[in-house]
């Protein structure tokens, strides 16, 4: 049996499926300064994230995990969007993404590919899938002291 290419429906825009099947920045960093992980106990989605921050810029990010197309593609797009950006810029992106998913705000063009997840905001029960990676990133950023060299939990 060969697994065919996923087609999914309109909600699952090509770009989502693409990030799901070929996640960017997937894996771990050799020298993360921050690490965090999150689980959605209701559906079992998992995300672990390594972040490297120097001079208030995210100069490295990688994630790993398992779960649905929405949680995993959201993580993948997140890493693309914030890599190379300052913490301040990243916080702005987090805010915009939350606004789109939770508050029903119109998609901000600053979100780039992430705009593809706009349709998920209509499905409250799936919103938490889309947000999982963002919560993990936020936790990583909140870590006061760099956690470089710590073993993944």
């Amino acid at each position: 049996m060969t697994a065919p290419e996923p087609q999914f429906d309109e909600l699952y825009r090509d770009i989502i499926v693409d990030h799901y099947r070929r996640p960017r920045h997937h894996g771990t960093l050799a020298a993360p300064t921050q690490q965090a992980e999150g689980v959605n106990p209701v559906c079992g989605d998992e995300i672990r994230m390594d972040v490297s921050i120097h001079d208030a810029v995210i100069d490295g990010i990688a994630f790993d995990g398992q779960g649905c197309a929405i949680s995993q593609s959201s993580a993948s797009m997140l890493t693309e969007r914030v890599q190379g950006h300052t913490i301040a810029e990243t916080k702005d992106v987090i805010g915009k993404f939350r606004a789109m998913m939770v508050d029903g705000a119109a998609a901000d063009s600053g979100l780039g590919d992430l705009v593809a997840l706009e349709g998920v905001a209509q499905l409250p029960v799936r919103v938490k899938c889309a947000l999982l990676a963002w919560n993990v990133l936020q936790e990583a950023l909140q870590q006061a002291a760099p956690a470089a060299g710590k073993e993944p939990a």
């Binding site: 049996m1 060969t2 065919p4 996923p6 209701v42 649905c68 799936r126």
Partner: protein, 404 residues
């Protein structure tokens, strides 16, 4: 065979549109839809009879009491029990099992005693025993299942022994569909001097059940999974057992005499029905029992076998699909769990929902089973009398077209 065309007309909700498509509800293992007859019974009760039971002399109270007690007789008949007084009404299967864990378990189990469960149990048949084990020092043992989804009876024989005080097993798995050999387990349990509890949440709705033939000591099920309203469960206990048990909840209705220094209990089953019961829903449950009796549980079973076989067959034609649980419909019921290589169960559920098809995705309250299968979740379609192959087909087609 069942006249599904006529049956469907009895279910008002099946006329609903979801995402502009006629609803195809394939989540019957979670809860079934309700026929008009059950909804009408509820309305009739509230419009003509409503009163608190067992303590009133006025006309409505007497009528309500009679109607409520009549359903005890119907509940007993549904599972082949001879004595309505062995039926306790609870909220759901979960409460039925908790009742046994507290009212029987707390006085009959001690340090080192063993409770034998299986890895395919629903959380409702795991957690009450974990809590009991914590209270009493008892120990849990789990029977594994084979790769074909059937219980490993050889292992069961090894696990059930002298220290076993209780075997508690699901009759029909809500994930794998497996129908377990309860009568054989009853023999093993009784040979070891243990009792057998059967979680009938999935069997009472879909199979002819006879507790005497099964040889079990406790049997629990939920009305909401068998055309009845939410909020009604049943616990049956073998004659004589309830009498020996301690009270579960204390309060009105379950007492004989209350004095400051202590109380005496009402006769069974009232001793186990503290407070105002869910009167209306118990009475409306009578209509659900009637509905199934009129169809005949044998016909229900035959119908569901046919649709399950059809559904499994079509699913398997989709590349990358694997079905969990027995493939032989003689060994299983209509809860069909599957995985698809190309997509996560939650995505499948969302996608087919876009086609108006309601299936379930997740761990199905069976995390031990998921871990044993090595998957985080599965997709599950589950059937009942008001579905025919055409509906199963729409579900399968939605997966086939849009997921992969």
């Amino acid at each position: 065979m069942l006249d599904v065309g006529r049956i469907k007309q009895d279910f008002p909700i099946l006329g609903q549109q979801v995402h502009s498509r006629r609803l195809v509800y394939l989540d019957n293992a979670a809860t079934t839809q309700k026929p008009r007859q059950v909804i009408d019974a509820l309305v009739r009760y509230y419009e003509t009879t409503n009163a608190n039971i067992h303590r009133g002399i006025h006309t409505l109270a007497v009528q309500a009491t009679d109607q409520y007690e009549d359903v005890r007789t119907k509940a007993a008949a549904h599972i082949g029990a001879s004595n309505p007084q062995d039926i306790v009404f609870t909220r759901n299967t979960t409460e039925s099992i908790n009742l046994v864990a507290r009212a029987w378990g707390d006085t009959n189990l001690g340090e080192g005693d063993e409770i034998v469960l299986s890895l395919m149990e629903h959380h409702s048949n795991i957690v009450p025993w974990q809590l009991l084990a914590r209270r009493t020092g008892a120990v849990l043992r789990f029977i594994d299942f084979r790769d074909d989804g059937t219980l490993d009876l050889d292992q069961a024989r090894g696990l059930i022994g002298e220290r076993t005080k209780l075997v508690s097993i699901v009759h029909m798995s809500n994930v794998l569909g497996t129908i377990n050999p309860v009568a054989e387990l009853a023999e093993m349990a009784h040979a070891a001097g243990a009792l057998l509890l059967v979680d009938g949440a999935q069997s009472a709705p879909h199979l002819p059940v006879d507790v005497t033939q099964l040889g079990c000591d406790f049997f629990g099920f939920s009305l909401h999974k068998m055309l009845g309203p939410t909020g009604v469960g049943v616990l049956w206990a073998k004659p004589g057992l309830l009498e020996e048990m301690e009270p579960f909840l204390g309060g009105g209705e379950m007492i004989a005499i209350v004095k400051p220094e202590g109380s005496t209990w009402a006769d069974v089953p009232h001793k186990f029905e503290a407070g105002t019961p869910n009167i209306a829903d118990v009475i409306a449950s009578g209509a659900a029992f009637d509905y199934l009796r009129e169809l005949g549980m044998d016909s229900v079973r035959e119908h569901e076998k046919a649709i399950t076989a059809y559904a499994m067959d079509s699913l398997q034609r989709i590349p990358g699909v694997s079905i969990h649980g027995p493939l032989d419909v003689e060994q299983r019921g209509g809860a069909v769990s599957f995985s698809m290589d190309c997509a996560h169960p939650h995505d499948i559920s969302t996608i087919v929902d876009g086609h108006g098809v309601a299936i379930r995705a997740g761990h199905h309250c069976a995390q031990l089973l998921m871990r044993r299968l090595g998957v985080p979740a599965t997709s599950r379609g589950s059937f009942a009398i008001q579905r025919r192959c055409r509906c199963a087909h729409r579900g399968v087609a939605a997966c086939e077209e849009d997921v992969c």
